[in-house]
């Protein structure tokens, strides 16, 4: 008796599940191509903005100062990565968050999936504080859906005092390291950046979805595993500081954390080129506080706030006013802060891979399943 009931019960559940899934399609997907012009009903007056941010990514006094200036309060939920942020935004549904931070390739995907609110530039006068190049970013030309917050490149971070016999200037220094470096190099563990060195070394685009090119890059990276210490996307710079690794793939801003501990930690963008990444502020679709969220973005664009970002998070910011306020001694300590926007724009921005994502995932799985 219990067994028969059990089977019927489970079938019922599956059916219910499928029905619910079909009905709730809007809440679990980001919608499909094209942003819909209509907005969710908007709340007026002072509100509480729900903000999804990376840890310690904003000046500490932002809540209180923003409240003083506009009367709105903010509630911060932290996230540690873009992937988690997007999963939370998708799963929690429209209206759950008013502001989120996303890095450029993810912004690209969200825009195309209609997941972001279009920005009203008349509400964002402080956009004029940014460099002209900040509105020439390929994933969102003219910053229609996102506002750049910090930007930089990916390259090689290394110990200049411990590396004596090798000139570090190419991705090959990580993929086919000299005997001095062998076994003491790492690559970043995140998919897009994991494949970056091989793709660039082979002269391909970082956004390629051509299976043949991806296969070549995968093969090259698999071969590189023999001389690789490991894949590390979080603590690669502390491996440098401790000497466990001598040269690592890293983001320029993160490399600065290493430099801050040990001035011998240096950064270089390899000759084959790299990517340009941009951390941006966006308003997820369905927010009921779009105008207040725009006020918040405008508020953050004030020079002193982005100057804080540069000084404390050690990332370059696209805010021209902020960068010009920086102390020259600070710039000397962290040379990659001096890279100009024009130089940055020479690098290739990562874009969402769309339908090519599956082929790309397969390539990464190949690399990681050895």
């Amino acid at each position: 008796m219990p067994r028969r009931n059990g089977v019927r019960f489970s079938i019922a559940l599956v059916v219910v599940g499928l029905v619910l899934a079909a009905c709730s399609s809007d809440s679990s997907s980001g919608g499909e191509a094209g942003a819909s012009p209509s907005r969710a009903p908007q709340e007026t007056g002072p509100v509480t903005l729900k903000v999804l941010a990376f840890n310690d990514y904003m000046p500490n006094n932002v809540s209180s100062t923003f409240q003083d200036q506009t009367g709105n309060t903010i509630e911060i939920t932290t996230t540690s990565s873009n992937e988690d942020a997007i999963a939370k935004i998708q799963a929690a549904g429209p209206g759950a968050y008013d502001i989120a931070w996303l890095t450029s390739p993810f912004v690209d995907g969200m825009i195309k999936a209609g997941g972001l609110e279009q920005l009203d530039h008349s509400a964002l006068p402080n956009l004029s504080n940014l460099y002209p190049e900040a509105s020439q970013l390929a994933y969102d030309l003219g910053n229609q859906y996102s506002v750049p917050y910090a930007w930089g490149t990916t390259g090689i971070c290394w110990r200049s005092d411990l590396v004596k016999n090798t000139t570090i200037d190419s991705w090959d220094d990580l993929l086919k390291p000299s005997s001095e470096l062998a076994g003491k190099v790492t690559l970043i563990d995140e998919d897009r950046w994991l494949m970056l060195p091989a793709l660039k070394e082979l002269g391909f685009s970082v956004n390629t979805t051509d299976p043949d090119q991806l296969q070549q890059a995968a093969d090259l990276t698999i071969a590189a595993k023999k001389t690789l210490l490991g894949f590390d996307g979080d603590t690669f710079y502390s491996k440098l500081v401790s000497g466990e690794a001598l040269a690592v793939e890293g983001w320029d801003g993160w490399c600065n954390y290493g430099t801050a501990e040990d001035p011998n930690v240096k950064y270089i963008t390899p000759k084959e080129g790299a990517d340009i990444w941009v951390d941006t502020m966006v308003i997820p679709k369905g927010s009921t506080h779009v105008q207040q969220a725009e006020d918040f973005i405008n508020f953050i664009l004030q020079p002193e706030h982005q100057k804080w970002v540069a000084e404390h998070i050690l990332f370059k910011v696209p805010n021209q006013q902020s960068m010009e306020m920086l102390d020259p001694a600070f710039l000397d300590q962290f040379p990659n802060m001096k890279v100009t926007p024009q130089e940055l724009l020479q690098q290739e921005p990562l874009k969402d891979l769309g339908d090519g994502q599956a082929a790309f995932s397969d390539a990464v799985t190949q690399v990681k399943s050895g």
Binding site: P2, S24, S80, A87, D234, S242
Partner: protein, 267 residues
Amino acid sequence: MRDRGPGGGRLLRLNMGIVFAFLYTPLVVLVILSFNQSKYASLWGGFSTKWYGVLAHDSAVIRSIGTTFFIAAAATVLSIVIGLPLAFGLERWRRNAALDSASYFPLLIPDIVTAIGLLSFFAAIKFPLGVRSIVIAHSVWGIAFATAIIRTRLRGFDRSIEEASLDLGVKEIPTFFKVTLPVIWPGIIAAALVVFTLSVDEFVIAYFTAGQTVTFPIQIYGMIRFGITPEINAAATILLCVTMLSIATALILGGRRNRGVPEEAVA
């Protein structure tokens, strides 16, 4: 049950020693590093207690520990309350392999799927994310653990004392409380301990269902970017000490507690 004899006994002791050495060496490292002058775990910079000072002022970390304990306690109670009757029911139908496997089902599902599933679900029914959602999320696997452990006490448990009680005219419910419960009580305690401990340590599901709430593992995960500073080690060390103290206290006080029916009478 007593030692099998000198030969077997020595081997057993050696094994136990290895197990404890294995379990505790990393903890020793962890505690020592909380006194590291240098920020980096791999470089010993000299002895310093400054990180404890940093910790004392870090209200975020302290609050996260309190939150974590509260959630663990609530999840444990919920898991036991639902898991205990389930254990009884499962023991009755234990020939049913499907039912048996079904009770392990929550444990089979990868954390990430449960996590995202619950987040979507809570959002769909507009259930507020926070302490309550984490407690519910933890109870889902907590029940499975509690049941499995309580069942180990129900198996091999001499039913004749229950039978005797019922024969004497005592109804089911008083029999349960006066006769059965004292005997399976250690199983319940064990289950509570396991669920509580696992809840304190649980990260993935809490991370997604927490909303703005921050538990200790979530707090630490957010701090990883800057490396495991000795401050984190200090927090872990204090947690350990507090736990050891409470356990010691509980043992001293609980030693008096009568386990109900003495073991010999049951055997």
